[in-house]
Amino acid sequence: MTSGDSIQIPRAWTPYLWWAFVTIIVGLVVSGTLSIYEMRNTQTKVELIEDRALASIQLAFNLSHDIDQWRRLFEDHIVESDSAGMKRIEGELANAEARMAATSRAYEPTITDDVERDAWQKLQAEIAAVQPKAASVIDLSRKNLDAQARAVMKTLQPDFDAIDQEMEGLVRLNRVRADQEVTLIRSLHRTAVIILAILTVALTGFVLLVAASVTRLIRQRESQMREATTLLQQRNEELDAFAGRVAHDLRGPLTAINLAAFAKEGTAEEGARAVFRRGVSQMETIIQDLLTLSRISAQTTEGRCQTARVAASAEEDLRPEVEGVGGVLRIEAADATVPCSAGLLRQVIWNLGENAVKYRRSGVQLEVEIRGRITKRTYEFSVSDNGMGMSPSEVQHAFEPFFRGEQVRSTPGTGLGLSIVKRVVEATGGSVSLESVPAQGTTFKIRLPLAASKAA
């Protein structure tokens, strides 16, 4: 379940990943909605201000118009000499003054700042200043003192000009403010669009990123699953092949026994009994080896042993075997504690030693050397012989159950010895390797982990 080259997301993270994803999306949507709402709110406010500015301009225009009309009515009053006509014009004058007052009252609340207020108050003051003089113009006109009235009107001219200027200033002020607000609205609008675009891009990017990582995760899982399936299929095939091998190897001696049992008088009684014995012991050995092979993992995990003691115990059994065929056995093992049961480690050394005896070269004195030494982190046993050796293809299959080399098939054996060695060593967390040269010899190397401490 390890893969070094790709980012590994732990299985436990997967639900959190989805929650994080959902939370971030909800957060983005909420903040996006809020910012849009705020933007619209601001825009509404600005529109309100703009409306008010436009209303102010309208009112200022109205006032200006009223003042012009008011002024014209003075002129009309001076020209008019009939008293009834004068009365009518005075009525219109009163109306115009009432309109001016109404417009002024309407304008007052639209004032937004001090600059505008100052300008407004100045205008009011000037209008107020004109009113008494205007009243005297009407008085003079009523007495038909038109020339004097005109003279007074003339003196009023600068005041009216000032009022006009003040009006213009007021209108300009409002227009500038309206322009400013329009600019502000436009820039707010632009900002809103930009923020929205950024949010959209960020959200899309994030979603793509998460989708990509989730896809990669799924793909990774799938490939892991495929690997596991392949491994399982391989194991199944191996198991099938293994069962086939067991059947085949048991059928051999069984056939011999069967033939010997049914054989007619041609076969000697003694010979038949020997065949029985051989066949039964061969099958017994196969069964024993199979049981050893299957029990290994359970036994090795418990127990520790002293390598020197195991080597000595293996030597006791091996020496007679080696010397029985005229060979030389050298054994030398440094002492250390390894995490393996003594019985199984002894079996490993015995299997390798026995192989050396079984597959010796005829005509060459057998030499077997067993060495145990402590390396940095491991304990290493090496078992060397000067026997037949194996071809490279045989070396490749040497540890497979029931595999037997071409030239050793006639020698008795189950083909399970080396697979037992491999399983014992690997169950302790160690490793086994072999080097072999045909017709020169074979060296097995077993590396076992060192147990943490002797006291433990």
Partner: protein, 152 residues
């Protein structure tokens, strides 16, 4: 003349029965016990027997003197059963006409028999009676193997 005629007509029949009863059988098996037991059983039945311990030896024996029947194991060192059968077929010295009885404990023996192209095979463990029946049958029918080349 009639006597001569009688002799001439009876002679092939006599030879045929003879060859069915007394055949030259080659046993090829790497298990010495099984080899010896098979030889003993066949000799009791009146056959002449030779023993080879692998396919290479088997081919040598056939080259020295072609037998009437070959009892062939499948898994053997040096040269296995199917390889030996293919060797006989490829050599094309008339040896490919010799019927072969396949004897093995391997799983899928029938498939191996199909590859070699022989109708005669016996799965281990078999009884001596079954073996003798198969030997008689093979010697009577005399169906030669037809190996599928290139398939193993």
């Amino acid at each position: 003349m009639p006597v001569q005629c009688n002799e001439v007509t009876s002679n092939p029949i006599l030879q045929a029965t003879n060859s069915a009863n007394m055949a030259d059988v080659l046993i090829v098996d790497d298990n010495a016990d099984i080899r010896d037991l098979l030889a003993a059983i066949l000799q009791v039945d009146g056959h002449q027997v030779r023993e080879a311990s692998n396919g290479r030896e088997g081919l040598d024996f056939v080259a020295a003197r072609p037998p009437d029947l070959i009892l062939l194991d499948v898994e053997m060192p040096v040269l296995n059963g199917p390889e030996m059968a293919q060797g006989l077929f490829l050599r094309d010295f008339g040896d490919e006409k010799i019927p072969i009885i396949l004897l093995s404990g391997i799983v899928g023996l029938q498939e191996v028999a199909e590859v070699i192209g022989t109708p005669y095979f016996l799965a281990k463990p078999y009884s001596p009676e079954a073996l003798l029946r198969m030997v008689d049958w093979a010697l009577r029918e005399h169906i030669p193997p037809r190996p599928k080349l290139g398939v193993r």
